[in-house]
């Protein structure tokens, strides 16, 4: 096995393209576990953290660009990012312990393509765009299209995601992410749910996105759950309809982390609770 730490995105892409079985190392909080367990045996590990600027959070055209080397802890410490996208940040900050937070990255979480990835639903709900670098140049792709199935992404050989772009927040917008775990920390989500809302001048919901995690082979955009919120003030009736639609949209499995029935029930509960928080935030009230 080889270890390489290129300093430019182009060098990283050509290293990745030249090797049949190469792995990108960002935070390493997933890759190193798999390496030790013998689940992966790559010929090469490409550490992308020495690429200039890859650890930056930058304001861009009113939105935010988050580099692939940005630790989730660094996202949590960025006040302006947290003010615009509290839901995205709380998703990122729920991954692992304090120690894991110091290393793990949102883009690594995305590229693992784990169905229960905590940071992905809120990114998708926000309409985030991945900036993909590959041997043939760069391309932009919606974050929703990156994971395909458990452990599999749509990235081609040699491609990696250098950054993710969160579009401008705009006025009267708010998001939230909630997950359910058996303990208070250190678990993989049994259910995750992100809600992203924009309000009209009259305080009713104009645009909504409800995205579910851990209840399907990849994140699920629960369009009917979102539609249930449009035009409402997220009153109890709207929230109940949203919850019911979210439960209906969930397609979970029975496993060691929960049953189908449990996950479907809790999906609705979290959708209702997350929508309420997102609405409060969109109105500019504290939550």
């Amino acid at each position: 096995m080889r270890f390489e730490a290129p300093t430019s995105p182009e060098d990283a892409a050509s290293l990745l393209a030249a090797t049949d079985n190469a792995r990108v190392l960002a935070g390493g909080t997933d890759l190193l576990v798999r390496l030790r367990a013998g689940q992966v045996e790559p010929e090469m590990i490409v550490d992308i953290k020495r690429i200039a600027g890859i650890d930056a959070i930058t304001s861009e055209d009113g939105g935010w660009r988050i580099g692939a080397g940005v630790s989730c802890a660094a996202m949590g410490e960025h006040d302006a990012l947290g003010a615009d996208y509290p839901g995205v940040v709380e998703g990122a900050e729920l991954i692992g312990s304090t120690q894991v937070q110091g290393r793990c990255t949102m883009i690594g979480n995305l590229c693992n393509a784990g169905p229960a990835a905590d940071s992905v639903p809120a990114m998708v709900a926000a309409g985030a765009i991945a900036h993909v670098v590959g041997p043939k140049g760069t391309r932009e792709a919606p974050v929703f299209e990156i994971p395909v199935s458990p452990g599999k992404t749509s990235l081609a050989k040699g491609e990696f995601i250098a950054s993710v772009y969160l579009p401008p927040r705009g006025a009267r917008g708010g998001d939230a992410y909630l997950r359910f775990i058996p303990r208070t920390e250190m678990d993989i989500a049994a259910v995750g749910c992100a809600v992203n809302l924009s309000l009209a001048d009259d305080g009713t919901v104009e645009k909504a996105s409800v995205v579910l995690g851990a209840v399907g082979p990849k994140v699920i955009e629960a369009a009917e759950a979102a539609a249930a919120l449009i035009g409402t003030t997220c009153d109890d009736t709207a929230l109940a309809a949203c919850a019911e639609a979210a439960t209906a949209a969930a397609t979970p499995i029975d496993d060691k982390r929960g049953t189908v029935e449990f996950r479907k029930d809790v999906t609705g509960v979290l959708a209702r609770r997350a929508a309420r928080i997102a609405y409060t935030r969109a109105k500019g009230e504290t939550s």
Binding site: G28, L32, R36, S71, S97, R103, M186
Partner: protein, 159 residues
């Protein structure tokens, strides 16, 4: 297999070592440098017994490759005391019986020191969440949390 030459700083001292590409920083600390104060409880980032500081960030050394430490600064439990003088947290853990078997203690001390440097006046809840990635199976955490809170108060009083 070719080994990688790494130059880094550990507890303030420039250090060189050779490691295999898949060796973790924890492997290097324990097996190459004989710094066995960092413990391997899980090798998956779930127990925190291998906690160290890497360029000022609290991390699990089992989730860092040895090769990644090139040019970085690593701080381990072995660097926490100044000569014979224990860090106030170390003294408090002894005085307040905040350890039983002691295997999780180095990781908890490294993590707690980082907390108090970032937040000299944490609430009980903040201490509990900060240390959620440091498993202790002996104490039920009670005396650990008290020792950290008491030390924080003492250090604020002394400052």
């Amino acid at each position: 297999m070719s080994r990688i030459h790494v130059t880094t700083t550990i507890n303030g001292d420039e250090t060189e070592y050779l490691c295999e590409p898949q060796d973790t920083l924890l492997d290097v600390l324990r097996d190459e440098l004989d710094l066995t104060g960092s413990k391997e409880g899980c090798a998956s980032g779930d127990c925190g017994a291998c906690s160290v500081m890497l360029d000022g960030r609290l991390v699990c050394s089992c989730l860092v490759l040895g090769a990644e430490a090139e040019g970085r600064a690593v701080e381990t439990i072995e660097g926490m005391a100044s000569g014979e003088e224990l860090h106030p947290l170390q003294q408090a853990f002894i005085d307040k019986a905040a350890l039983q078997c002691g295997i999780c203690t180095p990781g908890i001390l490294v993590a707690a020191k980082d907390l108090l440097e970032r937040n000299p006046d944490p609430t009980e809840e903040e201490v509990r969440y900060w240390l959620a990635g440091n498993l202790c199976r002996c104490t039920g955490y009670d005396k650990i949390i008290r020792a950290v809170l008491d030390t924080a108060a003492d250090m604020r009083g002394a400052a």
